[in-house]
């Protein structure tokens, strides 16, 4: 079963951290949304794409030992919720570091990495991960 279109649709947002800002209330959202949960119908056609800087701090995190099938070669891996400089919380991996060095409040920045592969010969899916600053 090919999942190419499903991942292709989100590639811009995942490669460049593109969210949406509601021009009615000014709130910025990531992941992108077509409808602002604060303004609802007032936000229709007022959601404008905006790129996030990728900088932020660790809001919460965990070290995963019992991982998903696709990620079992990476165990143990760090999953975190990052509070971005611009406001939205983003969920993703923190890589290239010792888990002991990650704390709530640690400064991070985003980086583009391979996330998963579709089977042995399928497409490689890329996306953001975070590294300590």
């Amino acid at each position: 079963m090919s999942e190419v279109p499903r991942f292709w649709r989100e590639s811009k947002h995942r490669y460049r951290l593109v969210g949406t800002r509601c021009e009615n209330c000014g709130n910025l959202y990531f992941p992108p949304r077509d409808i602002c949960p604060t303004c609802r119908r007032e936000s229709i056609n007022k959601m404008k794409e905006e790129e996030l800087s990728g900088e932020g701090e660790v809001y919460s995190y965990t070290v995963v030992h019992d991982g998903l099938e696709q990620f079992k070669m990476q165990v143990p891996y760090i999953i975190a919720i990052i509070k971005t400089k611009e406001g939205p919380l983003i969920t993703g991996q923190i890589v290239d570091c010792n888990p002991e060095n990650v704390k709530i409040g640690s400064q991070v920045k985003s980086t583009l990495r391979k996330v998963r592969t579709e089977g042995k010969s399928g497409i490689i899916q890329y996306g953001y991960k975070f590294i300590l600053k």
Binding site: E10, P31, P37, Y59, S60, Y61, T62, V63, V64, H65, D66, G67, L68, E69, Q70, F71, K72, Q74, P76, Y77, I79, A80, I81, P88, L89, I90, T91, G92, Q93, P99, I104, V115, R116, Q125, G127, K129
Partner: protein
């Protein structure tokens, strides 16, 4: 509007039941519920089937039709529909069936829940359970449901000065209670140190902080038919049934270590029943993760919830008996079925038939079933007059 009563309950054992298929589990529970209610298939107006993910666990969709067929009632043409709301499917099916009976559309309805989880390896099961999260913005990056629970725990410890012991105790309570329940997946008693020192799943959570993968099915019969209620030996009234929802993903919530939807559905159930917390004699909550138990109790009792941990108030013979069934943690966690087992445990308690784990003088029980971590919340209050 008319009153709705549970007049029959039936459940399979919960556990790794390799010799039983989904259809066998479901029909066993359904048949037991009908026999307990003392009614025949001809008297059923509709079947509501709860199931979370059979399409992925066993490649089978159209579950309600399958259950109806293999329970031998197809010739009767009884309408059968599946309800899915993550792990809250059982509670949601009960809610939908309750509304249908309350409205007068149907008189007597069977609500059954089933999940067959142990036909796949555990990594695959993790992936399927993760299906209740956001596939594009959480699981895509390697997020498991346990990792979401773990991040709630970390932030809760950080913001609220909660200690590990304040939530590690919930599995200990559930195992103690499960040891007294014959249909439990686990019957061993564990200690606080066992929970904290077990192998890690998503730090700080260990394997004992999380509910198991179980097979099982549970079913109940509800009715508003006056004759059936009168003939029933022990009818249990559905005093309230309410649902609420929150953002699907944790990262979209204003406070990640709270369950706003739980607060809302519990408050609405109390209002609907005309009861307050002092009238509730026991609680069955969705203890898929230890930290989830603490947050649910905080949404119900506020800061008191932690004092109640410290004072050992959650045991069956104490002031706020919690998960006397053994909960999802130790009685078992077949996703789509658990919301209905909660209703069965409450019914058994209210009938006074719970044996050594009986809550003395139990008149009202509050049960809370949850999909994801605080995403879908279903509260039901059951009681005797």
């Amino acid at each position: 509007m008319r009153d709705v009563y549970i007049i029959g309950v039936g459940s399979t054992r919960y556990g790794e039941l390799w010799d039983m298929s989904l259809r066998e589990l479901a029909s066993e529970a359904g048949l037991k519920a009908l026999m307990d209610a003392g009614i025949k298939a001809e008297e059923i107006d509709a079947l509501y089937g709860a199931n979370t993910s059979a399409g992925q666990f066993i490649d089978q969709e159209h579950i309600a039709a399958l259950i109806s067929d293999y329970s031998g009632i197809s010739e009767l043409g009884i309408p059968a529909v599946r309800i899915e709301a993550g792990a809250a499917s059982g509670g949601a099916a009960l809610n939908q069936a309750y509304l249908a009976v309350k409205s007068g559309q149907y008189d007597t309805v069977v609500v059954g829940g089933v999940e067959k989880m142990t036909d796949v390896p555990s990594e695959v099961a993790n992936e399927i359970i993760g299906g209740s999260l956001d596939a594009e913005w959480e699981t895509f990056f390697g997020v498991t449901e346990a990792s979401i629970a773990a991040m709630i725990a970390k932030r809760h410890e950080y913001d609220e000065r909660v200690k590990r012991e304040h939530y590690a105790v919930f599995p200990v309570i559930s195992h103690k209670h499960a040891s007294m329940n014959p249909s439990s997946h686990f019957k061993n008693v564990i200690k606080l140190e066992d929970v904290i020192n077990a192998s890690p799943v998503a730090e700080p959570l260990t394997v004992y902080d999380t509910a198991p993968l179980s097979d099982g099915a549970s079913a109940i019969v509800i009715t508003a038919d006056k004759k059936k209620i009168k003939e029933s030996e022990n009818p249990i009234k559905v005093k309230a049934s309410t649902m609420a929802n929150d953002f699907l993903s944790l990262h979209d919530r204003k406070k990640i270590d709270s369950f706003k939807a739980v607060n809302k559905s519990v408050k609405e159930s109390l209002k609907q029943s005309g009861l307050n917390l002092s009238n509730i004699d026991g609680y069955e909550i969705h203890d898929s993760y230890s930290i989830g138990s603490l947050i649910q109790m905080e949404e119900i009792f506020g800061k008191e919830a932690i004092k109640m941990v410290e004072n050992d108030e959650y045991y069956f013979n104490s002031s706020h008996p919690l998960n006397v069934s053994g909960g999802l943690k130790a009685h078992g966690n077949p996703l789509g079925a658990v919301g209905l087992y909660q209703a069965i445990e409450a019914t058994i308690q209210l009938r006074g038939k719970a044996g050594e784990r009986q809550i003395k003088g139990s008149k009202n029980m509050l049960i809370h079933n949850m999909g994801g971590l605080g995403t879908t919340s279903v509260t039901t209050i059951l009681g005797v007059e």
